[in-house]
């Protein structure tokens, strides 16, 4: 296995641990944690591929190795915005129904 494959293996494992947490946990905050783990695995993937295998894939603006890091910075920004919105929603939901268990939040079912 090449060096890149080791990084991709770690990213796959991280992503799937996050997926397991997202499906298995019922607390909204635990699900947000799992989601953020998946996002971190994706940015690890992007950075590893562009800095270890960006060889003959020239982008329109030249070498791709720093473009991957720019993508990762943007991903981190989106994750921060998502986390802020999600946590404030959880606080509002908790105030409304005194629970952040997703199985108690089924009013939209009709």
């Amino acid at each position: 296995m090449s060096q890149l494959h080791w990084y991709l293996l770690v990213a796959v494992l991280l992503f799937c641990i996050g997926l397991y947490g997202l499906v298995q946990r019922r607390s909204l905050i635990a699900m947000l944690i799992a989601l953020e783990l998946m996002l971190a695995a994706i940015s690890l993937n992007v950075v590893a591929i562009t800095s270890l295998a960006g060889g003959d894939a020239e982008s329109a603006t030249g070498n791709v190795s720093s473009a991957g890091q720019v993508v990762a910075v943007i991903l981190i920004g989106v994750a921060a915005a998502e986390g802020a919105i999600a946590l404030s929603l959880f606080v509002a939901i908790q105030r409304e129904v005194q629970s952040i268990n997703v199985e108690d939040l089924s009013e939209l079912k009709g």
Partner: protein, 182 residues
């Protein structure tokens, strides 16, 4: 075993162990600590890839800002000793099976994929990232700033107590405000 392999192995172990703590422990506070540990491991992996700047940004934003915000949300939302309903074993096994199947599928794809070699010039210095952000990707950069401002204002709007709403229990519209004209 050389230094690079040691750094990679310890960072990867930190990331995976932290992630396991983050999804499997019962106490939500321990989950957040495991999440922070996992992100420290990912930052270490970024360091082994030569992206020092990205590692520091990851630590600041995820471990610093998001971790603290989660701790605040837990403190505001729920006492830590609230009894939790345990999930049934078939559901846990089903989730684990789903995650394992996805991992195997992804790994099969990765094994069969053809990756080109490393780039000739490895641009990892922070000034390259700054140049990219403000020249080639300036639209994405500006959109991210707008998104962060909107998210911040939206978070404040959603989470603050609505001053016009009555406390639960009092019938809406029956009690006149003190001082209101009859």
């Amino acid at each position: 075993m050389n230094w690079d392999a040691f750094l990679f192995g310890s960072s990867a172990a930190l990331a995976l162990i932290g992630a396991l703590f983050a999804v499997s422990l019962k106490n939500i506070f321990h989950n957040i600590l495991g999440f922070a540990l996992a992100l420290v491991g990912v930052a270490g992996l970024f360091l082994t890839l030569g992206s020092d700047f990205l590692a520091i940004v990851l630590l600041l934003v995820y471990v610093g800002a998001l971790g603290i915000a989660m701790v605040y949300a837990v403190m505001l939302s729920q006492p830590l000793d609230t009894p939790r309903t345990p999930r049934s074993l078939p559901k846990i096994a089903g989730s684990a099976l789903l995650a394992a199947l996805v991992a195997m599928a992804l790994w099969l794809v990765i094994r069969r994929a053809h990756f080109p070699g490393p780039p000739e010039v490895l641009e990892v210095a922070p000034q390259w990232i700054g140049r990219r952000l403000l020249q080639d990707y300036v639209l994405a950069f500006e959109l991210i700033s707008v998104l962060l401002v909107v998210a911040m204002i939206g978070a404040v709007m959603v989470a603050r107590r609505d001053p016009g709403r009555r406390a639960p229990g009092t019938a809406a519209g029956t009690a006149p405000r003190p001082g209101a004209p009859r």
